[in-house]
């Protein structure tokens, strides 16, 4: 099983991410929305950290069907 990979979430800058990715996505961001989107991105980044810090064997694939 691979070793846990250190998270880079501490250096994450949600406002910079919004500014960089909104044009790529083609979404026009009103300045008044930025704080709420950034808050949501922080929550999502924390969730992502919980997953990236958990070692998964390479052989674990996403199920092609999600039927339980």
């Amino acid at each position: 099983m691979p070793e846990p990979v250190p998270s880079s979430a501490a250096a994450f800058d949600p406002e910079a991410t919004i500014a960089a990715t909104a044009p790529l996505l083609g979404i026009a961001i009103d300045a008044g929305w930025t704080a709420a989107i950034a808050a949501n991105l922080r929550v999502l980044a924390a969730a992502a950290t919980l997953l990236t810090e958990f070692p998964l064997p390479d052989a674990v694939e996403a199920a092609p069907r999600f039927e339980a």
Binding site: L25, I37, L41, A48, A62, A68
Partner: protein, 465 residues
């Protein structure tokens, strides 16, 4: 016509089948109760009086000519407004969808219920695009909890819970991606079934997160849940994830009791981060079932995180064009979460899906040694309408994002769950999840029925004050 007290679906079907009642009278009384009640509850977005009365009269005529009554003969029901209803745009709680073309035909589950004799009377309020646990909707107005009108119904199947608790209909359909049947069932004090992922067809419904979306019934009795569930089972090629398993009716085994069932209480993650009342409700149910064994679902907090990520990313993918062209027409709380979801790097989402496989395998191992797991449905009773934060275990948290902490790790891997209502006192109801292994809805429903029969769980109609 007298205003008879609302009956459960099974009683209505028996009365209509035996011709002691006409379907027309049942539907007329239902429409009357909706007209007198819904102004305070706001459960309905559409009432289909002409359609329902016409169907009722046709049913009465057929029965008068000797036709065989279906198992849901004359039972009025209503559906969350993300399910197609012929002649209506499928609004999914959204202002944007109101301009969609009218649905050409009813959704698959509506057709199956009506084939069993049930009669659709309306479409129900919901949180925008089902991305909601509160029951609040800035476009259609908030649904109000019939047990305390200034409290949340829970969401996103808000009208589905509220219409039951107010006694307007005996049967509703909701959808559940992360808890949207189980949360309003808990807050509104009724029963809800989130079946195994893929068990019931989602064809003819507006999606949210394809890899997590379920449809299911809600009712005030377990027998009504089972009646509806049995009528809706079966493969459907129109839903790409619908099972090809044949229907497995639960009604024949519903009264089998709990002898021999191995029942455990979820500990660890599911025993912290909530109000003491939420855990007291689980303990109350566990004691009634003689369940003294604890079990820990491994890494449940990561499962919840993974469900959260997948929901945001898949939801954003679904709505990307609308976010580009009509961002101002979304509920801001939904829009801002979806935009953030669009910005998640793909490796995180794929990681969440891979973790899903790991977690599924780990949890299925647990079911090798037990049959049913009990867990809280929500971390608290219904918050006040408009409440944005609550304190759980001494920590202030946003309500919207955290009502589903105990439901998300379960639906994440598609397990069947019956949410059962618990009344600890004269206050608002709570809910407990009765969770079974995949395809074992029968076990969860048997346990729920035992709890109902022994008086531990019940779903009384609220007295609106």
């Amino acid at each position: 016509m007298s205003a008879a007290p609302p009956m459960d679906a099974a009683s209505i079907a028996a009365a209509v089948a035996s011709r002691r009642s006409t379907a027309r009278d049942v539907v007329a009384q239902t429409l009357d109760r909706i007209a007198r009640t819904d102004g305070r509850v706001n459960a309905f977005t559409d009432v289909l009086a002409a359609r329902a009365l016409a169907r009722a009269e046709a049913l009465d005529a057929a029965l008068g000519e000797g036709a065989t009554a279906g198992p849901l003969a004359g039972v009025p029901f209503a559906v969350k407004n993300l399910i197609d209803v012929a002649g209506l745009p499928t609004r999914a709680g959204a202002k944007i969808n109101r301009a969609h073309p009218r649905a050409q035909r009813d959704g698959a589950l509506v057709r199956r219920l009506e084939a069993a004799g049930a009669i659709l009377v309306g479409a129900l309020n919901m949180g925008e695009y089902a991305y909601d646990f509160t029951g609040e909707n800035i476009h259609d107005g908030d649904a109000h909890n019939p047990h305390a009108l200034d409290h949340m119904t829970g969401g996103s199947s808000s009208g589905s819970g509220a219409a039951l608790a107010a006694g307007m209909v005996p049967l509703t359909l909701g959808s559940d991606t992360n808890g949207s049947i189980r949360v309003p069932a808990a807050f509104c004090g009724c029963f809800g079934l989130k079946p195994t992922y893929g068990r019931l067809s989602r064809a003819g419904s507006f999606p949210f997160v394809g890899s997590l979306d379920h449809l299911g019934p809600m009712a005030r009795s377990v027998a009504d849940l089972a009646l509806a569930y049995d009528a809706m089972q079966g493969p459907d090629p129109d839903d790409p994830v619908a099972t090809t398993r044949a229907a497995e009716p639960v009604l024949p085994v519903l009264e089998s009791g709990i002898d021999g069932l191995r029942i455990a209480v979820a500990g660890g993650y599911f025993a912290r981060g909530g109000d003491p009342d939420a855990f007291a409700a689980v303990a109350h149910v566990a004691q009634a079932l003689g369940a003294d064994r604890m079990v820990e679902l491994p890494e449940a907090h990561r499962a919840r995180a993974a469900a959260y990520l997948i929901t945001a990313a898949e939801g954003a993918t679904l709505h990307l064009d609308r976010l580009r062209t009509r961002p101002g027409d979304f509920d801001p709380a939904v829009r801002d979460r979806l935009i953030a979801g669009a910005m998640i790097p793909a490796p995180f989402v794929e990681r969440a899906q891979r973790f899903r496989r790991w977690y599924r395998d780990a949890v299925l191992d647990l079911f090798g040694g037990l049959d049913v797991i009990l867990a809280p449905a929500t971390p608290c009773r219904a918050p006040k309408g408009g409440q944005t934060h609550f304190v759980l275990d001494g920590v202030s948290l946003p309500v919207r994002a955290n009502i589903g902490v105990f439901t998300q790790p379960i639906s994440f891997i598609g397990l069947p769950v019956v949410a059962v209502p618990v009344r600890l006192d004269d206050g608002l109801p709570l809910g407990v999840q009765v969770i079974a292994a995949p395809w074992r809805e029968d076990l969860a429903l048997r346990v729920a029925r035992h709890l109902e029969r022994t008086g531990v769980c019940k779903a009384p109609i609220a007295e609106l004050t």
